[in-house]
Symmetry: C2
Subunit: 372 residues, 2 copies
């Protein structure tokens, strides 16, 4: 089960960066603008109103330059060299809305786009591009009270290291000295790390905006690195949950409860994760049902009634994925759970696959359901 | 004055990435190890016990690959292609101890080293490499209580944006609910941003270690972006301090004092900065002497007694630089200040230039002198 799931996540992760919207027969609109994720002052990469991406890279003496984004199986988007030494190219079709990882192959070597900021995915810092989404307002930086995202270094005896996590505290946390908050432990996917949910996912902005609209109870989110071993392709199937479960439940949770004003009981503690982080969430919540009261799997597997039958009942099971993944499986699993008397909710992100837009939307749907 | 100073900083910034230790006539020790700043699982770049750096980059079809680090004026370190398609090369001499920015030119295009993590400098995300320093323990990640570094988004009416800053809170800040702390406002250099002092500078680890040794009073450090306008080469001389001074003194300081447990008066507020951040520190402290009680210029200009004569007396003036910069100027300025009755301290970092090792050491020297 675990092996299959892992393989699925990895394959999905790699397919995902090449996913397309339905191909468009209309002409390409020449209203390209710099991607919102570009480095300061950089004009490229650009995106247009239809979701096409255009790249422009300086490599005057190169023989071939291609971008991993665009045509996947057929080698991404091949750029063509101009008289000025810049290589340019546009994706063949519109990209799915939201965030995509990519890289650039220059004369056979893999590099990043010097115009784009970098995001940790696929076990490397990749270039990132943002295709404006019709619903991007829910994770936009707005003039509302903002929570803080802080890096903590917590002692880990089991690994003999100081390990890093990021902690989102909601607006007002510093001022409301008498208030205690529930906590969501939120995991990244394979090849990503503890930076993913705030950098790529905008988890903090999603919460700031939901809280400003009164749509969710303010709570703390803790994001840490979900692996305790070096992640390499070949080693992926050797993954064991035990070391990370120890770090999370015996080291991180006690540190957070000791250093932040938390409501430290099962009814005020949730765990959710995307992709491989969902697999970790399922394993750990089933191993430690007394620790977490709310479970969330985002493109990260399913719970069946049999998984839960010998467990204290979770207060909520949330299962989601993109419409380009396996929505029928998600819906059926939730129907089965409801049939067995569980409080289960499914969510399907329309028009997206195994990528961050699915997970941003999933967090936006999950947050208001937590800690009721 | 401002113009000259700015030009100096920029030139120095660019020279700095090519600075060498005295060239060594001994053989190169073949004890190369991966740089501590490599991406997970990456074997290259490597550094040896003498401070040489070795690079290895895959670009099988490239005609030329060179690294900006190593020979500066003569075009950095040229790599040579092996039968396996990997380009390798070693710096001609040992590098200065500490952190260096660099990039890789592949067939005429500027990219980053896929093996190294990225750091924002020179108005782009550059590759970073760490040459182990004899005194690296003072900024090492140790098994001591760790403070937290948190990202805040503060409202800025003057720029019409939510602006980002990072706030270091010392170990125990969350637990000691009744304790209030002094605050150091610490600025980055030209082409860097608010991430520099924690990413490249390890300001948080320097403080954690000093506090664990009882060598400094615990205090808060606030690091924000020191420019309010798009930074471009040609525009550099147009820099005006007023917009940033407004953001810092009328927007950020009030936000920090409202959201953190600070001692919000002159005697408990310091400002320091490196390179261009020193120039900003000098301008703002002289414009707002009632706001800051402690001044620090790290490779960032000098105060003369005349600068201060009409001002309320600062409690401390700290001026530092690397021995490869202009140590005589720093020493003379501090002697003059002492002669005029000021509490002034100079520090010269041995064997380093206009780079972060100078500034890590400067912070390590400055912190214990603050808020006495």
């Amino acid at each position: 089960m675990t092996r299959i799931t892992l393989a699925t996540f990895v394959v999905a992760t790699f397919l995902s960066v090449t996913s397309f919207s339905q191909t468009s027969s209309t002409a390409i609109a020449e209203d390209f603008k710099p991607s919102s994720l570009n480095q300061p002052g950089q004009e490229y990469p650009q995106v247009n109103s239809q979701g096409y991406a255009r790249f422009r890279i300086n490599a005057p003496k190169a023989d071939s330059v291609k971008v991993s984004l665009g045509l996947g199986g057929r080698g991404g988007t091949r750029l063509t060299k101009g008289a000025d030494g810049f290589w340019t190219g546009t994706t063949e079709g519109p990209m799915d809305e939201g965030f995509h990882y990519y890289n650039v192959t220059v004369d056979g070597g893999k590099f990043n786009d010097p115009g784009a900021k970098n995001y940790y995915g696929s076990v490397r810092w990749e270039s990132g591009i943002e295709i404006p989404a019709h619903d991007q307002e829910f994770y936009a930086l707005k003039d509302v009270p903002h929570g803080h995202v802080q890096q903590i270094l917590f002692p880990s005896k089991s690994t003999g290291t100081s390990r890093r996590a990021f902690v989102y505290t909601p607006p007002g946390y510093e001022k409301n000295q008498s208030t205690k908050y529930p906590v969501l432990y939120l995991q990244h996917g394979w090849g990503e790390d503890e930076t993913a949910w705030s950098n790529q996912g905008h988890a903090n902005l999603i919460m700031d905006n939901l809280i400003a609209e009164g749509k969710t109870k303010p709570f703390i989110i803790v994001m840490t690195y979900g692996m305790t071993n070096e992640l390499k392709w070949g080693k992926l199937r050797e993954f064991k949950i035990d070391p990370f479960q120890t770090v999370l439940t015996e080291e991180l949770i006690p540190y957070v409860d000791a250093n932040f004003r938390t409501l430290s009981n099962r009814d005020n503690r949730a765990m959710a994760g995307l992709s491989m982080g969902g697999m970790e969430t399922k394993m750990i919540t089933l191993n430690k049902p007394e620790t977490f009261g709310y479970y969330g799997l985002l493109s990260g597997g399913l719970y069946n009634p049999d998984d839960l039958k010998d467990e204290p009942k979770p207060k909520l099971v949330f299962i989601s994925c993109g419409s380009k993944e396996r929505p029928e499986g998600v819906k059926k699993a939730v129907d089965d759970l409801k049939g067995a008397g569980y409080n289960a909710v499914s969510y399907v992100s329309e028009g997206t696959g195994h990528e961050f837009q699915t997970w941003r939307r999933s967090l936006h749907e999950l947050a208001p359901l937590l800690f009721k």
